[in-house]
Subunit: 493 residues, 2 copies
């Protein structure tokens, strides 16, 4: 027999619900937003995993806990988490905290709906369409299609799946077995999701032909042409080229016009992975880096990166107007996409995707854009370029810092050469010893909590730092701090 009363969770008690949420929100404002973005606070509070487990008391038990205990847990979660909105978080291709985007995210969470039908997401179905239209207009398309995906990797996979479906519609039903071997092309600097996607989609990583990149990290169109010829000679069918606008490490932009020419000659689908660099389209000054993108068939663009919209916000944009997305992915589930609804069922966009439930990812971007306008966002992009340039010039002025190359984007890659290695470039173990410097400094900065910068080896180059200048709150002072702090941390090496 059912109780006649709601459960004694807070759900039945609006006053208690409001009190809890106001208390949690107070903790969020103080700890995550104010302290979390303040240069005078740590960017992270490092703990060894075993110690952190003890501090967090993660175990889920039979009995529930009091509100005071829950609030203490909220404080601990924030305390020991990395502050990605902090001005000294240079570690990933996202950084910073945009308050309007965060407001959009909080509203999204409070409404907790799925993007699949107009019925349960009327505002967001229309809003997604408008945001995608705006992004397409920046690419240079007056019509087309698109969808928000759970991250750039899945956006890239969608592009590959759409390209093969367009060429071989039968593969949706019959699979890849009956097809000739397929080949897709991308440069050695591409994001690793292309390889992961090829495996997941059943093509296999062998289907990915790796095209040469020049010393700047840009795809070499002549080698693309050569690779296409080689694949054909081996009996494979080329079907897609994935160019990159803003590579992960070097921030390189592939030459899209020349690549589009090759695609056109060979009848190949051109996908542009602009997950990182797409936001540059907002800048009149810098958008030439993506010249030719309007010739693409598909574009992946992640506003959660340079625009700081918040994870996740990844758009797949298509030039297609033939409903390819829905034809490729649709399965007409009759319990969800009923055709006898009282409104235009073309508004039920859920059958365009391979997910069923799908998060609302458009509101945070829309609200931020409404607050900033194109102009505000453009200024943000231009500022990031300018600060990256400032950092480069400062690096050149200082002893013990060596640029990997002149950047064309906001990835600034360089070695910190510690005092003991300066002037020893000719010593046989120089490169081996230099390669150990970045990991050591990384450990020091994280354990002090003063800043976070990523490092990596790259090709034949040993470990170097990659500073990502993305946080919209950055100033020249943060750039100066970064270099001073590296010198301080590495002075005894």
């Amino acid at each position: 027999m059912a109780d006649s009363e709601a459960l004694p969770s807070l759900a039945g008690d609006p006053v208690a619900v409001e009190a809890l949420l106001r208390a949690v929100f107070g903790v969020v404002v103080d700890e995550a937003i104010q302290k979390g973005t303040s240069a005078s606070q740590k960017v992270c509070e490092w703990k060894e995993p075993e110690e952190l487990k003890q501090l967090l008391d993660l175990e889920l038990r039979s009995q529930g806990e009091s509100q005071e205990q829950i609030l203490e847990r909220c404080r601990a979660v924030i305390r020991y988490s990395v502050k990605t909105g902090h001005p000294r978080f240079f570690n990933q291709l996202f950084s910073g905290l945009d308050p309007h985007a965060l407001a959009g995210r909080i509203i999204t969470e409070s409404l907790n709906t799925s993007q699949y039908t107009y019925e349960i997401a009327p505002v967001f179905v229309l809003m997604e369409e408008e945001v995608l239209r705006k992004l397409r207009a920046l690419v240079g398309w007056s019509s087309g299609d698109g969808i928000f995906c759970p991250g750039g990797s899945i956006s890239n996979m969608y592009a590959v799946n759409l390209a093969r479906y367009q060429r071989y519609p039968d593969c949706k039903q019959r699979g890849l077995r009956t097809l000739p071997p397929l080949a897709l092309f991308t440069s050695k600097e591409c994001h690793y999701s292309i390889q992961k996607g090829a495996a997941f989609l059943g093509l296999g990583t062998d289907s990915v032909r790796v095209v040469k990149a020049d010393e700047r990290g840009k795809m070499v169109p002549e080698d693309l042409e050569r690779q296409i010829g080689m694949a054909e000679a081996e009996g494979a069918v080329p079907f897609l080229v994935s160019a990159t606008s803003g590579t992960t490490v070097l921030g390189a932009f592939d030459p899209l016009e020349a690549i589009a020419d090759v695609c056109q000659r060979h009848g190949l689908w051109l996908h542009v992975d602009a997950a990182w660099g797409g936001s540059v389209l907002l800048s009149q000054t810098h958008r030439h880096l993506l010249d030719g993108i309007q010739r693409a068939d598909s574009v992946a663009w992640n506003p959660h990166k340079l625009l700081a919209a918040g994870l996740q916000c990844s758009a797949l944009l298509l030039q297609d107007t033939s409903n390819l997305l829905k034809r490729c992915h649709g399965s007409q589930a009759s319990y969800l996409f009923q055709q006898d609804k009282f409104y235009d069922v073309a508004l039920d966009t859920g059958d365009k995707v391979v997910q069923c439930g799908r998060r609302v990812d458009c509101l945070k971007l829309w609200l931020m854009w409404k607050a900033q306008g194109d102009q505000g966002l453009e200024r943000r992009i231009d500022q990031a370029f300018a600060l990256a340039r400032y950092l480069v010039e400062e690096i050149k002025k200082r002893e013990g810092l060596e640029l990997v190359m002149e950047p064309e984007f906001v990835n600034v890659c360089f070695w910190f050469v510690p005092p003991s290695l300066r002037g020893k470039q000719d010593s046989p173990d120089y490169h081996e010893r230099l390669s150990k410097v970045a990991p050591m400094l990384k450990e020091r900065m994280v354990k002090e909590g003063s800043m976070m910068i990523g490092y990596q080896p790259h090709g034949t180059r040993g470990n170097f730092f990659r500073v990502v200048v993305a946080n919209p709150a950055l100033t020249c002072a943060d750039m100066d701090f970064l270099l001073n702090e590296l010198e301080r941390l590495g002075q005894d090496l």
Copy 2:
């Protein structure tokens, strides 16, 4: 030249940031949380798409807007959105607003990190591991692996990809072309994501063999055995069975013990899609519905559904202890998963997935669980079953309501037979006319905003309502309201 000051967005002004966020939070509490969960308010405020576009003024323009305008936009977005936390939202397999889960989601958004490395998600890497351990323990496994995915469809895809990789590890590199035709088996009542997944993964929908379900919607193990034999006779290689615990429409539980016996005999991977029904494992009274689940190789379970953790929260659980996830999906990106880090890089779980950036989906579930304990969550499940039973008994008492079948779960499926059709079961157009009733009533309830219930045709049955009893705030009074409201809305039909 870079400005020496941060941009004049709010990001540089902590006082203004706090004021904005407090104002937005006030709107969220009043409009989305208080009104949005109050039975005295509408569950939705229906607008035709063209009118809604006008009301929302969605266009993104060159100029940014004032804070007052932004706040007005926040109010409008909430006003015209469907309130999925409302006690009269019975429309999907999720409903209700758990305040602790929402608190976890707000913290998640304020910290805005990605789940891939311990370096930038120390708390959440450990927390995800603990939550997955707890879910596995409820399945009956003392060891294993797992990961949170962007929804149940992708969790199901992962299972299929892992099963084929385990059998043919070469396919990661060489693709499906070199393999024999593969066959996977699921019942006709399964979720449509199995078909979508087969297409996306390159297997093709033909590889999905549809097994019969009995009149209750449960897979027939004898037909599974027969289908396996048929597939083999046709030269295909069976590799996976996907059973369902809690089907989408009828809420049926496949007989897992008998299916596991078949899988064992044929050496097939057993996946259980328990996206909907998995949460029943928390109930000592009802968990027998999933007897045999401990024999599965993989389980998909979405706590965002019956546990109201918030979209998205979908776990893929594995019995495997051989690091299959990482071997199958890993690509060892050297810029992210450096092997010379100063901590145990086994904590960098990001290479287990086909995504790169991945949202934090564990905190909302963990915080809710800490607040409720196993006991509170168990009581919630038992309450949902009890209220569904109450609703069924009330349906039986009333004229003009006809159960599709006795439910075994919290999906209550029935026809509303309007006055003009009562006693006309033998008339030749009865079923055709009855099938038009649910869409008509749906339109009326949505336009009045009084409640939302899904309907669908099913096999040879015409449209019937499916009430999902999931919202933890429901009481018997809400069940009574639902039936009274249907009678009111349909009295003239």
